[in-house]
Amino acid sequence: METQVLLLLAFVLILSIFLGFELISKVPSTLHTPLMSGSNAISGITLVGALISAGNGFSYTSTLLGFFAIVFATVNVVGGYVVTNRMLEMFKKKEEK
């Protein structure tokens, strides 16, 4: 059972890595900074794990750890998206102004 789960997750992992390479290699160098901050925000997806740890009321320690994990992951997610949006707002062609 354990091995089956691992294999399934590994399957998803490997395919996602290939997909990631395909997607990212098409991003032009002009957008590399927003790409970093935007993908950074996506890596804040650990927030999902943090929510479960903080909310399951298992023990005082796990709730506390979950709470801090939520705070940091949320800063990562929200800060990442807002700052990326701020940057992308500025990328304009002349005619569009």
């Binding site: 789960v5 691992l6 997750l9 998803v12 992992l13 997909l19 990631g20 997607l23 990212i24 098409k26 032009p28 160098s29 002009t30 957008l31 590399h32 790409l35 970093m36 901050s37 935007g38 993908s39 950074n40 996506i42 890596s43 804040g44 650990t46 927030l47 999902v48 794990g49 740890s53 903080a54 909310g55 399951n56 298992f58 023990s59 320690t61 796990s62 750890l65 709470f67 801090f68 994990a69 939520i70 705070v71 992951a73 949320t74 800063v75 990562n76 997610v77 929200v78 800060g79 998206y81 807002v82 700052v83 949006n85 940057m87 992308l88 707002e89 500025m90 990328f91 304009k92 002349k94």
Partner: protein
């Protein structure tokens, strides 16, 4: 039933992330892409709240509120020149969060080899990402010296630490009562992050930030294996891949291997051959003299570097380039991939100033036309225009792709002093017959040029 719905929503959220990243392939659609990706994140967070295991919402609400407040506040306030620091910090927080999730899971998850080995990885990668990013942030914001900090037996100590961490991981995985190994892993990974980044110099930060970006993705992946959640694995892998691609682009742009960047303490040794006397005389002139040449120029290429960010000169350089255009000159900005302190740093600064992205050119686009350029204006860049990369086989930067500024009819170099660039080597460009230095603060010099044009 509800679990199926949650998982289905995760699937949709993953698709939104993928579409979001796809739309980042053009500046026109990038903003929409970022928005779509944010919607995916919101969806993932909201459906998680319906997860049956969650009983306590007060802690969650408090955490989300505090985090959102800090996130929005800092993202609104940060200056564009400080973007590398901001990205480094956010990255670090993501890593820390993975570490904490792993730690909490060690308490809540029933013991199994799969969960304990992945908890170990989540803590290890998360910890390295956290302290590594903090050191990168400190170096970028000059709270720590930007130069490489080297001490004796550095690589031996690192190696010993890595071996003990692996040992820790093995014990952590096989023993059910493993709290001591847990603490050792946390301490060890935090220390490793510091030790790995401290010997890396400021100008190599584009590589380090990209690599840490990739780590933060891998940490999320590991956390995904811990809680057996596909969305963490998919998103983590996308980010991991993105970081690795950027890392390799940065390394190629410097013609160095990743190993060389990470472990050689590049720039710590004075690598230059002290042969400056045979290079000839350095000429310098005032901005007024420069004006007469620029006024007659038909084509101008501007090469910005980190100095432009330091001098906060992006707005004035835009005003200046518009005056040149009005005067009938064709203006292009030549941007080297490693100019600045993070991938795309110069592009963001120029975009902030309102420079249209279609006059930004890359190294390969601008080099073939360099012969016909009347004036190449180098602002705060040094190593990326160093012709030693082509001419001097003994140079440490030999083979690095550069912007061939020296082929232009005139090269004006805006620089504070004759100090050498990050690589610590002499730049023969400054001594060429067609080169002239304009000493002083880049912003002030540009302001003088702008007022000359206006009169």
């Amino acid at each position: 039933m509800i679990d199926n719905l949650i998982n289905f929503s995760y699937l949709i959220a993953s698709c939104l992330f993928i579409f979001g990243l796809k739309l980042l392939s053009s500046p026109k659609t990038a903003r929409r892409g970022n928005f779509i990706s944010a919607v995916g994140m919101l969806l993932a967070v909201v459906v998680t709240l319906f997860y049956q295991g969650i009983i306590d919402y007060k802690v969650i609400a408090a955490g989300l509120l505090i985090g959102s407040f800090i996130g929005i506040y800092s993202a609104r306030k940060v200056e564009m020149t400080k973007m590398p620091e901001m990205v480094a910090l956010l990255n670090g927080f993501g890593g820390l969060s993975s570490l904490l999730v792993g730690w909490a899971a060690n308490i809540t998850e029933p013991f199994s080899y799969l969960s304990s080995s992945t908890i170990f990885l989540s803590i290890l990668i998360g910890g390295v990402t956290f302290t590594g990013s903090l050191i990168a942030w400190a170096k970028l914001s000059e709270k720590l010296p930007g130069r490489p900090l080297i001490f004796s037996f550095q690589n031996v100590i690192n190696f010993a630490l890595i071996v003990s961490l692996i040992a820790c991981g093995v014990f952590f995985t096989i023993f059910e009562i493993n709290t001591n190994y847990l603490y050792a892993t946390i301490a060890g990974s935090l220390l490793l992050g510091i030790l790995l980044v401290i010997p890396i110099g400021g100008a190599d930060m584009p590589v380090v930030i990209s690599l840490l970006n990739s780590y933060s993705g891998l940490a999320a992946c590991a956390a995904g294996f811990v809680i057996k959640n596909n969305i963490l694995i998919v998103s983590g892998a996308l980010v991991g891949a993105s970081g690795i691609i950027l890392t390799s682009i940065m390394c190629k742009a410097m013609n160095r291997s990743l190993k060389n960047v990470l472990f050689s303490g590049f720039g710590a040794k004075k690598a230059g051959k002290g042969g400056s006397q045979e290079l000839g005389e350095v000429k310098s002139m005032t901005s007024q003299d420069a004006y007469y040449v620029l006024e007659a120029a038909k084509s101008v290429v501007i090469v910005p570097g980190y100095g432009l960010a330091v001098a906060q000169a992006q707005h004035i350089v835009k005003e200046f380039s518009e005056l040149l255009q009005k005067n009938g000159a064709e203006v292009k900005y030549a941007i080297h991939s490693v100019a600045g302190r993070m991938p795309g740093h110069m592009n963001v600064l120029l975009a902030e100033a309102g420079v249209s992205y279609d006059i930004l050119a890359e190294t390969d686009d601008v080099n073939p036309i360099m012969n016909s350029v009347d004036v190449c204006l180098v602002i705060g860049a040094n190593d990326v225009v160093n012709p030693a990369a082509i001419e001097d086989k003994d140079s440490v930067i030999y083979g690095m792709p550069i912007i061939e500024a020296h082929h232009a009819k005139n090269v004006f170099i805006l620089k504070r002093s004759m100090g050498s660039g990050f690589a610590g080597i002499v730049n023969p460009l400054f001594y060429k017959d067609n080169s002239t230095m304009i000493f002083g603060d880049a912003k002030k010099t540009l302001q003088e040029l702008v007022s000359e044009f206006k009169n």
